[in-house]
Subunit: 444 residues, 4 copies
């Protein structure tokens, strides 16, 4: 006895690779399919439609196949309402809970498709039947509500540790549909569509120029530019260039760690005299005393902003972030010295702060940090453009694999990448300076 | 005024990704398309058919688009005969010559589609109107003729340096059709379809087991197993395991360099006593005198086979290759010491020898050598299964990008990979020993 | 006017490279030296002695030179007592505080050289004039006192965030002497002396065998074996082999992250049936729901030990750690899902827990995790043997650079390394089983 | 019964690490030593002297120890003349032949120390008793004689394949002394002394600036600058910058492969129009037809210089090399297309051409090619400064391990390194333009 179900797919499903993945999944998992209807988009601007019946020898196989098809945007022919089960305890999900993708998603509730807010992968999907007028979370919930969300039932993602007893959590996948990103109707320049690969064939400087243009465009239209930076940015001498970008208003959010901030501040406090520079170059261990002393000084001052206020810190990336009101998150890690008082040492608290940044970002530039880039990438919807730069190809590949449909990966030296990027962004900005300034002003 | 042409695609063009690439190419290159007819394969075993008209604003764009579609298997609606132009001089191709892909290819000549022999990428495609009965190459040409090729006109690839004045060389791409590999109708195990990526998520031992099974199957059905090996195989201590595979009849061809052979022979001549081993481990520079002496000894003996005959060389990979009549090619390089008298020092001559091996191979195992693996990969049709193993992810990625539709890439330590592979191949062979022996006997 | 000081060096200062580094430092930093006395060790077992006067053009240069010489074990000819300054506030060090190396260190206090306890680099050095009989930290302080520490004044390291207002912190470097590790009088096998390099020339299996022997020896003499493990240990299929080592009593402490533990438990809960395995292999994204569900289940049970007690968790590394009372620290990070309730989410708290483990360890095996390995390495004295294994050469190099004088680095696949190591350790243990068992019993 | 010998060491043997290595070798190999006399250099400009007696339990161990000491510059107390044995056949060395290091070397012949010419590692050392006045090699031999070599007996290195029957080949190591490079008396800037490591801690731009200064200095004093370049230089867009350096007279020799030259010429012939560039960027396979066509065109023209003469090739690196009479060697390899008629396809012939270049070079810049860099590095004496740049840390480490005492390694992107280097070299040249021009004129 065989088991079968009929699903529908709609959109630019041929050139976005959706159909290829769906047909492949059926075959790989040992099922078979019959195409009931296929209306091809006659022209690149027309969508296609496909209705197919999937058959498998047993229910388990069919379920696995339907799961794959679902993740690629397929919807059951006659979808029923999402199945909700109350979370049995705080931080505990019901059996067979639905784990989100990072794609735009809707749930069918009371016969209506509702857009899921705060899209992020590997979360629970919680439906709130109606605004909880009197509950303890009423205000927070209202505040979180995304712009334009009408009154009525809402749906949003919750990471496991935010799940509370009684939350109505979606289970199975019926009544849920996802919309994987579609290939843009024209070429995306350096930002390839779902390539997940790293081209070593492209001229480096051309690619950097394209990234600079994208960054300028996002910034000039008031978008949010998020930079994720590792300590190598400072070690490699690229700190000044990044500080210039911050000063010129091209960075709206900075996500980094205690190490990045400390190295940057140490360089600002100790790195200006030639004698010092030479010593640091030849005796890196010598610098470590400066490192600890830097943290001690910032603790003494009461934090980074306080150190700026009292005139101790007068240049560098962190200085510019304070002066330009950049939304800065310093997340702690077990390898930190100190840490600085500004560092959030609790991983969950830090992750939540990063999550807020990630949800705001329109473009994310990840510079030479695997740890922080993965943390940010985990929170990003698949629709956010990302740029990943690292000297290690494995790092770049790992970051590109995580999900943005439009990503640029570069295996290159951060010490030359950032200055070149800054040069292109800032020189290109000469003609459009006012726009950039306006944007900076708005951000402030 | 716009330019347009109509092309046809047929086969498993959805799940093999062909349509996705074709639609994408049109859009990326700035053209547009209209689907004239689309017959979808209703079931995973039925092929699909698509006829589409491509339009561009200028002839140059249209040509670029048609080139991409052609490479993905599209054929002009009313194909005309292949256009042949005589090569103006030895090693000189006519303008607008057709450069081959590594996919199975046919040419339309005198109204008949002829299969192109000796498929290899980046070659000229030469058509021989009828067997050259009295010419100087008659015998060679006959000899080269692939099995089952009927009398009548022939088509084959020629690398640039083999092109002779007067050869009829295909130009443009009309009258030529390629058949990119299609996704197998069922999962390929470790050999993913056109993945070109390297999964770090797969358990290493499971993947090695799958490769071992494939290797045994190919060997047992009388197929040709080619091993491409770098010196790291010997340095890392994996030489014995490779020698065991050769001895057991699982290797039909070995493609390596002077360094591999010298290290292997040096180990056979000097590496057996414990004292020596310890010295080599701790003082690698010490070993270099042995290296030169090894080459000198083989020169004195008159070559590797002569050294086996006189009893000087009695173990190791090269010894087993001599004893088991393995087709061995040692290609020279500019970093060689010596070299051994068996090493082919001329790059073109060596490349031709490698080409013969590659065209015979049913599966190619590439072990820790970028140079030799690229040389072999350049000569392989896209239908040959390949396994690439290297500690450097960039090497594995580069090799997988080159073209086989069914490839396994592993970023792992050759010093543990080869022994594990040999163990799985040889333990699995216990039940089927006779088959493996027959195969070995046949090869001899 | 020149500035000069006279220092003394004593020990195996020639073959340990001490003199080379000292002479080099003087020249690199622009000073000059005069050797006042040099008594060479006539034989490899005799120590050498050198008294030299260092001269520089200015006080700043002389200070920089003396700092380098100090770090290499030089002591001023007529050392005065250590200079102590009270910390001005919690987590704030006095100007010119002394930042520790990771070498054994002594301070001259009241004319007596006192051994510094809890050696770790980049810390403050605190002297406690006499046991603080009635103070708030009396008990903790007594508890921390290392074995054999006599009554009287004590000296120990404190990381910055442990410094309390009023702590007597060493400043400058007078009255402090360090003893960099000396070259062992006989070859160290795989554990090279201060090599800091990664030999790709050594046969992998031989090196693993040497590591296995060292690990067995440490374990059999009752030493402490610490394993630092990343999630790749589980992904690559090496979890069973590590669990075997734990079960056999060869692991005393495990330092890992939430990801490692979750993957291990997920594999234990879901990875046994063949069907699941196949799915996981081919659809890694599918597994993510299991990942979240695994964490949710452990939260529901009340933690890992509770899940073992209730019979939910019955195999794998974490199970064996619970059953064998292995000292386990799971440190949180910003990229974690969940996390498990056993995970320490605060970075400082987690670092302190890791510090306790590191100070106990006699040998540390670092498996495929940069983050946790750096965190552990930061806390290790230079006398602890370390083994670093990673597929990425940059990771191995970075870890070896951090300081153990006797370290083995291997660039290899963790998926074959751990099973091979376990095989060698466990097969070698056959003859000496009772010793290993006794050790396991003692640990428990 | 023990065996012992007495050896002498002289020079900056402490700070150059010589004594450390010698004492360590004795202990590692199981011997023991007694220092008979030790005169320390009292000041950094004075040399030290050490006479020590080495003892071992057996003759074999003593021989191994003496071999190590010899390689580090030790000489037997009462050296006897070098032992010469006639080569038994062409390309065959006598048993126990002496294999050279890459350090400056002398042989004791007829009671006189003679400097060995053409120093290169892993060669035979041939002594020519007196100028062979009437022999067949008289002219060649005279021609090869290095400047300043007086009449009388000569000694020089010969690679194995140059050894001729009857050549008087040095055996054992008595009567031979080597002089390993000594640490410069003052800091070498970016060019560390025997560091063999790659610092990721140094600011990239500072290091490039130091390399630029060194390159300018060498060029301005009439020294020979050799560039070794891989195809990535062109792919990454750095070709123009390298062409600028050639044009400005800063490159005396170029060592590359067929791929480098073809990509450069292809870019010159096809890469100028924007349309082409864009196509190439997005469809790298498309470019391959251009690649083959480029080679065909150069073959048609009769070679690269002929293509410049006829006006076909008008820009790029190869064009500038022709125009500026740069000594160019293109070595063939088995992965080449074509090749170009200028490519030397025989590995031995190519190696000999590279050897001539290497022996002339004062500084060698290795850019993104492992194969050619190893080939060049094999021929270099340890006294030649080298700069190795590659995106792959393993490549840089491997090259630095091979022998120059003064080397800079950078793990960076060639696409940004070369333009930055060119900018620094050329901007720095503004003040000293005449010197650079004079140098270029001299070279021509």
């Amino acid at each position: 006895m065989t088991h079968s179900r009929t699903v529908e797919l709609e959109g630019h499903i041929i050139d976005s690779g959706t159909l290829q993945r769906c047909f492949g999944a059926v075959m790989d998992l040992g099922g078979s399919f019959d195409v009931e209807q296929f209306d091809v988009g006659k022209h690149e601007t027309e969508v296609s439609y496909c209705r197919l019946t999937v058959t498998a020898d047993d229910a388990e196989t069919l379920r696995a196949i339907l799961h794959e098809l679902h993740q690629n945007g397929a919807v059951l022919e006659d979808p029923s309402d999402v199945e909700l089960v109350a979370a049995p305890a705080d931080r505990v999900v019901p059996p067979n809970f639905y784990s989100t993708t990072n794609h735009p998603t809707e749930v069918l509730y009371d016969g209506e498709w509702i857009e899921v807010e705060r899209i992020e992968m590997d979360c629970a999907l919680v439906v709130e039947p109606e605004p909880d007028a009197g509950g303890r979370d009423a205000d927070a919930s209202e505040e979180d509500r995304e712009d334009g969300a009408a009154d009525g039932p809402r749906a949003y993602t919750k990471v496991l540790n935010a799940v509370e007893e009684g939350d109505l959590v979606a289970t199975d996948q019926s009544g849920i549909r996802v919309r994987p990103p579609e290939r843009p109707r024209s070429g995306g320049g350096a930002f390839g569509f779902m390539q997940g690969g790293v081209s070593a064939e492209r001229p480096s400087e051309s690619t950097i120029r394209e990234v600079a243009e994208e960054l300028r465009e996002v910034s000039e239209r008031g978008g949010n530019v998020m930079v994720v930076a590792g300590p190598a940015v400072i070690h490699s001498g690229a700190g000044d260039a990044l500080a210039d970008l911050v000063e010129a208003g091209y960075v709206d959010a900075l996500s980094a760690g205690n190490g990045f901030a400390t190295h940057d501040i140490e360089r600002s406090l100790y790195g200006t005299s030639l004698g010092m520079d030479v010593e640091t170059l030849e005796h890196p261990r010598k610098g470590h005393k400066h490192h600890i002393w830097t943290i001690s000084e910032i603790i003494r001052a009461g934090g980074i902003a306080a150190a700026v206020d009292e005139g101790t810190l007068t240049e560098g990336v962190m200085y510019q972030c304070v002066e330009n009101d950049v939304d800065t998150v310093l997340a702690g890690s077990i390898r930190d010295d100190g840490p600085l008082p500004d560092t959030i040492t609790d991983a969950i608290e830090a992750q939540n702060a990063i999550r807020e940044q990630a949800h705001e970002a329109d473009i994310v530039i990840m510079l030479a940090t695997l740890l922080h880039s993965v943390a940010v990438g985990n929170c990003l919807p698949s629709t956010t453009k990302t740029v990943c730069v690292d000297i290690n190809p494995a790092t770049v590949t790992q970051l590109l694999d995580r999900g943005s449909a439009q990503a640029v990966g570069m295996v290159t030296d951060i010490g030359t990448f950032v200055p070149t990027l800054a040069e292109y962004v800032l020189e290109g900005a000469d003609d459009t300076e006012s726009a950039a300034c306006d944007d900076a002003a708005e951000d402030a």
